[in-house]
Amino acid sequence: MTDPFVIGFGGLAALVTLIALRMPIAYAMILVGGIGVSLLDGPGVLLSQLKTLAYGQFSIYDLSVVPMFVLMGALASASGLSASLFRGANAWFGRFRGGTAMAAIAACAGFGAVCGSSLATASTMGKVALPELRSSGYSGALSTGTLAAGGVLGILIPPSVVLVLYSVIVEANIATMFMAAFIPGFLAVALFLVTIAIHVRIDPEAGPAGVAVSGRRLVTDTVAMAPVAIIFGVVIGGIYLGLYNPTPAAAVGAALVWLHGALTGGLRWRQVREALLETAAISGMIYLILLGAEMLKVFMSRGGVPQAMAESMLGSDLPPVLVLALLLGALILLGCLMDSLSMILLAIPFFWPVLVALNGGDAVIASEAGFGMTNDDLKIWFGILALIVVELGLITPPVGMNVYVISAIARDVPMRETFLGVIPFFVAEIFRVALLIAFPALVLWFPHWMAG
């Protein structure tokens, strides 16, 4: 038991067991990390760490955008933004076959532009769009599948809380990561729209065309979407152009959503109180996992586990792209066990050293690198790929939180049908990951171009 390495892997096994037994993930990490460090370095080290560790973690400046984006999303869900987005998109798309489902996807994307969470996007848009889809005669599978998949856009389109956490772990620039997510986000929307088009081509009964709205309605409904465009432009546009840091941007965004909600009457004191408590629950959960992940990281790097994993991967002589695919596959499997936030915080500290080692070590130049790019680019590229695959867990059994959220709203559609309805979108997502692996420029071009 004196070998740090044995203790390290023993800790990992204990962690997985605890998580599988439904110990809250944060406390499983805290328990294993704390006990592990005490075993390796003696309890004195742990006790002196705890004097400032939590305060130090919670006061990291880059993380301060997290509660702000969470509040922004909670306020956006409570205000009428989602309804006007869906109405506006439906005015354009509704007349086509499958158009109302396409409108729901577009509205999810728009909502994702002010909200950084998948569940919030799925539940908010679900409440708005499901009744409309069902009353327009859309099949249960197509309506619920569309909304469960559309919810994923909440995280894929910046701002994204998961992406912020990834940036903090691998020490990437949040603004650069948000830029990198831009084109892949649009690609997701495009592929989802194509998926619906194919679905209704094969099964025209699933999504009947609606009646075209009058030109006048088209104008008013489009104008009603302007607040979202303005808020997205001010927040994300400001970050892209380097006008301000993500934190002030998130603050301005939250303030604008609040202002809009107060002016349109959607936000009263009761809704604000609910939004604040929801923010408290979600942010508290995220920060506690962060603290646990930090304690676990201290323990694991002391035990040499990430380094050992990197070396064994290096010794396996597998081609880098295959290892990358294996790591992404492992994330998809982990998605069966836990949510995306925990997964990013738990797995990335182990996966990232492996990729750096495969790429050729710390000081590698692009022409000699295993992935043919610098470590900085690899960081961006892998971040976007990881972001996509950790979200897949939200729409696949057995966890599939988005599916549960939508099923809770659509009580007349069996959950099995929802999972079936999601499958085409899942295939579209796998296709997108393959595209991004084959053409890294889809991720890297925009941030490079913005950097000049």
Partner: protein
């Protein structure tokens, strides 16, 4: 995340206090947001951002998040894996709930004890922020209140988990 009904007596009082403390943390978050907005507007209009906005953001968010933790524990917002044990019997689930609450209680008491000494360190060495010279120990004091409430919240969940175990244990 559903709010459980507030019982009478000590439990009702604790639930109200924990919720109020989380709302106070939310209020602090709103203040930090307002400050950042002012700083952006000030930077754009007057050409001078609010001095020390970075460090106020850091401390304000840290204190606010600590204030969220007891509410998080009380409402069971901490995420768990949902795969293997969803088919396990209610007895195993109740036992794991009990273990989780015990861990939370032990950790909050440990952290309370250690951060008390952290506070004494901060005060003894006179640590302050760089620009505004705000003493860190004041933030630590607010954090300690949060940790006391976190211990109380863990005590509440522990009490309910113990009842669950007693209920399912006899079946």
């Amino acid at each position: 995340m559903t709010e459980q009904p507030r019982g009478p007596g000590i439990e009702g009082f604790l639930r109200a206090a924990i919720t109020a403390w989380a709302l106070a943390g939310g209020g602090l978050l709103v203040l930090v947001i307002a400050l950042n907005v002012l700083s952006v507007v000030g930077g754009a209009v007057v050409g001078r951002p609010f001095p020390g906005d970075f460090e106020i953001t850091e401390i304000g968010i840290a204190v606010a998040v600590f204030a969220f933790l007891p509410y998080c524990q009380m409402t069971g917002a901490n995420v768990k894996a949902e795969i293997l044990t969803s088919r396990a019997g209610p007895r195993l689930r109740a036992l794991m709930g009990l273990a989780a609450s015990l861990t939370a209680l032990a950790f909050s008491v440990l952290l309370l004890w250690r951060m008390w000494f952290g506070l004494l360190d901060q005060k003894a060495y006179g640590y302050t922020t760089t620009i505004l010279q705000f003493p860190h120990w004041i933030a630590f004091a607010a954090v300690l209140v949060s940790l006391v409430l976190l211990a109380a919240a863990s005590g509440l969940t522990l009490f309910h988990d113990r009842q669950d175990v007693a209920t399912f244990g006899t079946r």
